[in-house]
């Protein structure tokens, strides 16, 4: 008689090893940032320190100022929120959580005008940076970081 017990055990062990772990509630920081070159640059905001070197090398600016921001703790992965400045608005709509991170729909508004829309998966360990329109001598950047 064939004994299926070892096979069943091995199968269950494999399935369990492949199962994803439970994710705790995480906070997503989203910011509207103006990057520009100035003679006396201010220190970079705390939220951006982990990507300071990349921002400076990639965009070539020496100052990064947050003009609008929002911190949202995601519990269900279905929340939505808005980070606004005087003229810009970044609407973030979380559309679920996956093994890879949060699925987000991002919309950048200039007042009521939609400038840019994107769908992205935001990973906990990987910030997302979006280059926006030129503003004066500087550049609008959108930054999303899972804290």
């Amino acid at each position: 008689m064939v004994r299926p017990f070892p096979f069943v055990t091995a199968f269950i062990a494999l399935i369990m090893s492949a199962a994803p772990g439970l994710r705790a509630a995480e906070t997503v920081w989203s910011g509207l940032v103006i990057a520009e070159n100035v003679a006396q640059p201010e220190s970079i905001p705390l939220e951006l320190t982990r990507i300071e070197r990349l921002l400076k090398e990639l965009f070539g600016y020496n100052q990064f100022q947050v003009i609008g921001q929002s911190s949202k703790t995601l519990k269900t992965g279905q929340e939505d929120w808005l980070a606004t400045s005087k003229f810009f608005g970044l609407h973030v709509d979380a559309r679920g959580e996956s093994e890879a991170g949060y699925v987000l729909n991002l919309k950048l508004y200039k007042e009521k005008e939609l400038l840019l829309e994107t769908d992205a998966k935001l990973s906990k360990r990987s910030p997302l940076v979006i280059k926006g329109p030129q503003v004066g001598s500087g550049q609008l950047l959108l930054v999303l970081i899972v804290q």
Partner: protein, 172 residues
């Protein structure tokens, strides 16, 4: 002090002697009948000894008996061995094939799981841009590209040609 029955048994066996024998025979109510009974008992004893005594086996019979027992044992043991072989499914060949099949199954699952996991592992580290679009009316010459700065684990959506705005829009 012996009971009458004990003395009677001893008397039948001829084990009473001397004064005890004289006293016992004197106590018998019918000495003649008792002696007749003793004689009958002796006859019966002799008969039983003769008919039921152990039958001594001669040398030939003894060896013949040993031989028969050994043949009987040898006839039984092969059946036992055969029965033992039949009762287990795990022959060497089956063990080998079962082991090989299990290993193959494990490898298939391992490859399957690793394939499934690799993209997820990669995307755990890096955010991904799934799609992006700009309003073609507002920014008709806009282009979009995306890349990952893997050293810093940052994903960048790079736009060019978006409508430029005056410095006033940098207000908080």
């Amino acid at each position: 002090m012996k009971t009458f029955e004990e003395k009677w048994t001893a008397w039948l066996d001829g084990q009473l002697t001397g004064k005890e024998l004289v006293e016992f025979e004197a106590s018998l109510p019918d000495n003649a009948a008792a002696k007749l009974e003793k004689l009958e008992a002796k006859k019966l004893g002799a008969l039983l000894k003769r008919e039921l005594g152990a039958h001594a086996i001669a040398n030939e019979e003894f060896f013949s008996h040993q031989l028969r027992e050994r043949i009987a044992r040898e006839n039984v043991e092969p059946f036992r061995e055969q029965a033992a072989q039949v009762s287990t499914w795990w022959t060497i060949r089956r063990l080998f094939w079962t082991g090989t099949a299990s290993l193959a199954l494990f490898l298939v699952f391992a490859v399957f799981v690793m394939r499934e996991k690799n993209p997820a592992e990669q995307s755990r580290y890096l955010s991904q841009i799934l799609n992006a679009r700009v309003d073609p009316v507002v920014s008709p010459n806009a282009t979009i590209s995306m890349f990952e700065a893997k050293g810093d684990r940052v994903t960048v959506l790079w736009t060019e040609g978006l409508q430029s705005l005056p410095a006033d829009y940098a207000a908080k």
